[in-house]
Point group: C2
Chain length 255, copies 2
C-alpha cells in the first residue's frame, strides 16, 4: 500500500521543499522506499538533492504532457530516495493544463503506473494554487501543510483548505489534511508562540506534535546537494525531521 | 515625474511584501507621495497594512478587468501612503489575462490615469512569473529584486532576469533592474556571506549597499497592521528600510 502525500501551501518560503527533501530522506532511514516528486518549475527539490537541472533529458513535465512510463524519468539518488525531477519546462505544462483533457488527473495517472513500487510518495508543490498543485491534490491521499509561525502564514490557510475541500468533492474523495507542520519555529519569540496557539485552536490534533526549529544546517544542506540527515545527522534540523517521520508512521498505523 | 518600481522574485518568502510595505512607508517619511499596489491574490500587503480584505468593494482586480478610475479603488492609509488593495478575486483576473486583449498592458493603462499624483509607485508581486507579474513589469520603469541570502535564492535569479529581458524587448524598453536587495541578511553565517559575495560578483554596483538584517520586529509589524517605521522606529528593520529609501533616492538623483 503506497501512501502519497502532497506538501502544499501557496504562501511562499514556508519550508515546502525543505520538508519534501528531508522528510523523504528521514522516511528512507526507517527503511521505507520513497519517491519525491518535484512539481515546482523552480526545481528546488531537484537541485537541493544535487541534480543538475540543465542536463536532464526527461522531467516530470513529460509525464504530465504524454503517456510516458515514470520509470524512464525517475532518478535513483545516492542518499537512498528516488526523485522525479523538474526544471523550467514545467511552466509549459502549466499553460497546457489550463485547457487540456483530463487536465486534473495527469499526475495521478502517471503515478498509478508505478504500482506498489514505493511505500511513500511525497509531492513538492510551487507557491500557488495552480493546475500543478491541483494535480498533486488529485494524485494524493493526504496533504502535509508546512506553516511558518508568522503573521502571513495564517492568512492563506483558509484559501488552501477551501481548495482542498473543492478537490475532494470534485475529484478525490479520499483527500484530507494529514497534518499542519510548524516550520522555522522559534519558541523564544512571542510571535511564534501566538501563531502556534492559534493553529492548535483551529486544527487541534491535526497539528503535528513535531515542530521544525529554525536551524541553519537546514539552509546549508541544499548547497551540498544533500538532505540534512546526511549533511549533519546530529543537527536539530535532522533530529526534527527524523521525529516527524516517526510521528507520521505512527499516525499511519492507527489510521 | 513618477518613478514606478516592481518588487519581484518568483522565489517564495524572500521579503517582497515586507519590502513593499516598509520601503513605501520609509519613502513617505522623506516627504514623498507614495502608492503601494498589491498585485498578489494572497493580499498580504493589504492585510499587513491593517485593511480587512473581506470588506473591500473594489480592488486592483477591477482595474485589470475594466476601464475603471484607480481613484475609485485606492485607500488612503493613516500611515501616510495610499494603497491599491487586493484579495482572492485577483485569481480570476489571472485566468482572464491568459487570453484577453492587451493583456500585458492592463495595469500600465490603469496607472497612467493617475498622472503625476505620486512621486513613487511600488508594485508587490506574487511568487510566480505569471501574467500578474508581467503586468507589473510592463507598467514600471525599474525592478527591485529582494534576494534572501540562502542557496535557493540564486537559482531563480537567472529565470527572473531572462523574463525581464524578454518584457523589456517586447513591451517596455525603459525596463531595467534597479537593484538587488539582500534580505534576512545575517552576516554571522557563512551561507549569507557566500551568497552575498556571489551577488556582488554577478551584479556589482546593482546590489544595494543597504542589506536588510533578519529582525523579528519586521515579522511582528504586520500583525499590528503597521509598517515597521511606525511600529518600532528604532528597530534595526526600520533603520535598514529608511537607509534603503535614502539610497534609492540618491540613485534616482544621479540616474
Ligand atoms: N527550519 C528551517 N530553518 C532554517 N532555514 C530553513 C528552514 N526551513 C527552510 N529553511 C530555508 O528557508 C528558505 C525557504 O524554504 P523552502 O525553500 O524550503 O520553502 P518553500 O516553501 O519550498 O519555498 P517556495 O514557496 O519558493 O517553494 C530556504 O532558503 C530554506 O533553506
Ligand atoms: N528582514 C526580515 N527579518 C525577519 N523577518 C522577515 C524579514 N523580512 C520578511 N520577514 C518575514 O518573513 C516572512 C516572508 O516575508 P514576505 O511575506 O514579505 O515574503 P514574500 O516574498 O512577500 O512572500 P511571498 O512569496 O509569499 O509573497 C514573513 O513572515 C515576514 O514577516
Ligand atoms: Mg519550494
Ligand atoms: Mg508577498
Amino acid at each position: 500500500m503506497t501512501r502519497t502525500y502532497t506538501i502544499a501551501n501557496q504562501k511562499g518560503g514556508v519550508g515546502k521543499t525543505t520538508t519534501g527533501i528531508n522528510l523523504a530522506a528521514a522516511l528512507s532511514t526507517f527503511g521505507k522506499r520513497v519517491l519525491l516528486v518535484d512539481l515546482d518549475p523552480q526545481g528546488n527539490a531537484t537541485t537541493g538533492l544535487g541534480v543538475d537541472k540543465r542536463t536532464l533529458e526527461r522531467t516530470v513535465c513529460d509525464l504530465l504532457l504524454e503517456e510516458r512510463d515514470p520509470g524512464e524519468v525517475l532518478i535513483r539518488l545516492p542518499c537512498g530516495i528516488d526523485l522525479l525531477p523538474a526544471n523550467r519546462d514545467l511552466t509549459a505544462a502549466e499553460v497546457e493544463l489550463v485547457a487540456g483533457a483530463e487536465r486534473e488527473r495527469r499526475l495521478a495517472r502517471a503515478l498509478e503506473r508505478l504500482g506498489g513500487r514505493y511505500d511513500h510518495v511525497l509531492i513538492d508543490c510551487p507557491p500557488s494554487l495552480s493546475m500543478l498543485t491541483v494535480n498533486a491534490l488529485v494524485a494524493c491521499g493526504g496533504v502535509i501543510v508546512p506553516v511558518q509561525c508568522e503573521y502571513y502564514a495564517l492568512e492563506g490557510l483558509a484559501d488552501l483548505l477551501a481548495t482542498i475541500e473543492r478537490i475532494a468533492r470534485a475529484f478525490n474523495p479520499r483527500l484530507a489534511v494529514s497534518g499542519i507542520l510548524r516550520t522555522m519555529y522559534d519558541p523564544r519569540t512571542a510571535l511564534s508562540q501566538e501563531v502556534s496557539n492559534q493553529l492548535h485552536a483551529h486544527f487541534g490534533e491535526r497539528v503535528f506534535r513535531t515542530a521544525i526549529p529554525r536551524n541553519v544546517r537546514l539552509a546549508e544542506a541544499p548547497s551540498h546537494g544533500l538532505p540534512v540527515t546526511l549533511y549533519d545527522r546530529s543537527s536539530r534540523g535532522a533530529i526534527a525531521y527524523l521525529g516527524l517521520a516517526g510521528e507520521l508512521l505512527r499516525r499511519e498505523r492507527v489510521a
